[in-house]
Amino acid sequence: DTIISAEAPEMNYTLNFWPYRSQVTHFPCLPSELTDQQKEFKEVARKFAQEEIIPVAPEYDRSGEYPFPLIRRAWELGLMNSHIPEDYGGLGLSSFDSCLITEELAYGCTGVQTAIEANSLGQMPVIIAGNEAQKKKYLGRMTEEPLMCAYCVTEPGAGSDVAGVRTRAVKKGDEYIINGQKMWITNGGKANWYFLLARTDPDPKCPASRAFTGFVIEADTPGVQPGKKEMNMGQRCSDTRGVTFEDVRIPKENVLLGEGAGFKIAMGAFDKTRPPVAAGATGLAQRALDEATKYALERKTFGRLIADHQAISFMLAEMAMKVELARLAYQRSAWEVDDGRRNTYYASIAKAYAGDIANQVATDAVQIFGGNGFNSEYPVEKLMRDAKIYQIYEGTAQIQRLIISREHLAKYKR
């Protein structure tokens, strides 16, 4: 890639047309084929999804019951906690490999998959910022028994605006006293421990980058009160709750990195967890595409299969385009972080795109099923309800656009 020289200042905007290109020192090269091990991993996840998740997913959706038997099975097979390093009993899989597994599980049921993925989200702050003792204690136990954990950041009054978090942590001797309310916490009622973000510096002028601290809290600490299970539109078997913290005492050993480092840790976790969330949305979209295609090859109208009508085949074509591109997007973002580069730009693009297309593809699938699609005895209405949350959690569609535009413009301002 040749570097365009000549910097005539008065022609800044035209010559700097290629600023990004001139800084590219390598050409991204995604592997054209999966390795044998990746294929085998994918096969186990696919078999588990087809044979064990899909048959029971509709019932879990109806009842909202926590799918613990499925989670336990996934844990036994090694499909959970894939990010935990080998030193703590995990497989230490790359982001790419984890995403392959996530897509297959999500194909089965995103409610089940979200319950599993919430573990990765809760663990990530410990993986990236924990000291040896914390990693051994909190990651080690996850591989010894099928335990759940949760990421406690969102509050009733602050979701996208993480800097608006009001849960307070006050230092008293060798402890911190926590008071506050968290909301929409996945696995809130099932977690063995939480990653908690709380404000340690009460001064409103203190910038977000120094005002918050990350803690690990055992769920059975006195004062931790999970609320009722929330009944949501989709992914209904996933356990989502408010959690109240009333005078909860945490030893100072449970601070991650140090006081004031919380915001960076909380945000840093997302670069690793957004690719699998995008993979999950892609799995849902692929399922919607497969179901719609199978139906279109069976249903007849006006004397032919509906798949032979261009209105339907064009819809399927566009659905296929979206699924393929979403897959490439999450694979790129996973590959970037595995290769040791900062992947914020790609992770946001993948999550934003996959979340949006999952909703579009699921809606189109319902449309292709026609009246049957609206009915609960056909699989696609669940997909449409399950898809919506992908535009909301793990950073809303709007927040992703904020991040992408900031990253994009930053390249041009350099």
């Binding site: 044998d36 091990q37 294929k39 085998e40 991993f41 096969e43 186990v44 078999k47 588990f48 036994e76 097979l77 090694g78 499909l79 894939s82 497989l91 899989l93 597994i101």
Partner: protein, 254 residues
């Protein structure tokens, strides 16, 4: 007591795939089609691994005959708990015409070479449905056979095998060394867990050529033609039982 078990695993088209006949009617389409381990072979591997876990057997060796791709099948067996693998290299025309006679000769030769005292196979493969390899292998080795096994128990230096037969279940006792073929209800094969898949990478697969075993692969069979089964015709609805009897008489059925 059986020290070493040989388990044969065959790479076949996955059971969920819709089979298509090649346009020239010489066989079925295999290019780009999903393949996996024959389901009865999975059951055979599971049984062998369980025997090892019960400490009734010291080593489980997985064997497969075919081109490079069968190594995937051997790896699946290793991930399920087999200790090592043997890949018998057969490719091209030899592979196309490979059948129970050749495979049983290979297995018999390997059983002698590896000093195996038990061979467990699937009762049949889901692609050719031959149901011959186990029986032929036992005959070539002059070993007793327990086929269509739905239960296998070790009793000293003998095997008690409960066989599924048309009339129900038959219990036999055979001396070791022996050949057992697995039927559907023998066990439920385990998943290969992710940690076991990673461990399996360190397990050894040795390559062997049929010539090294003194086996001649020439086939005694020639496939003349392969056709799809006839399309199912639409039925005819009738109003009354009399109509039904009348129609059956017309068609010469009664």
């Amino acid at each position: 007591m059986a020290a070493r078990v040989l388990v044969g695993v065959k790479r076949v088209i996955d059971y969920a795939v819709k089979i298509r006949v090649k346009p020239d009617n010489t066989g079925v389409v295999t290019d780009g089609v999903k393949h996996s381990m024959n389901p009865f072979c999975e059951i055979a591997v599971e049984e062998a691994v369980r025997l090892k876990e019960k400490k009734l057997v010291k080593e489980v060796v997985a064997v497969s005959c075919g081109p490079q791709q069968v190594q995937e099948t051997i790896r699946t067996a290793l991930a399920m708990g087999a200790d090592r693998g043997i890949h018998v290299e057969v490719s091209g025309k030899d592979y196309d015409s490979l059948g129970p006679l050749q495979v049983s000769k290979i297995l018999a030769a390997l059983a002698k070479k590896e000093e195996a005292s038990l061979i467990i196979l699937g009762k049949q493969a889901i692609d050719d449905d031959c149901n011959q390899t186990g029986q032929m292998t036992a005959a070539l080795l002059d070993w007793p056979q327990g086929t269509f096994a739905s239960e296998v128990a070790v009793e000293g230096d003998k095997l008690k095998v409960i066989r599924e037969v048309d009339g129900g279940l038959e219990t036999i006792k055979i001396n070791l060394p022996a050949v057992v073929t697995a039927d559907l209800r023998l066990n439920t094969p385990r998943y290969a867990t992710l940690p076991n898949i990673m461990k399996a990478k360190k397990k050894k697969i040795t390559n062997v050529k049929p010539g090294d075993l003194g086996v001649d692969l020439t086939s005694r069979l020639e496939v003349l033609r392969v056709d799809e089964p006839p399309q199912r015709q639409a039925g005819v609805k009738v109003e009354t039982v009399e109509d039904l009897v009348g129609k059956l008489k017309e068609a010469g059925r009664i």
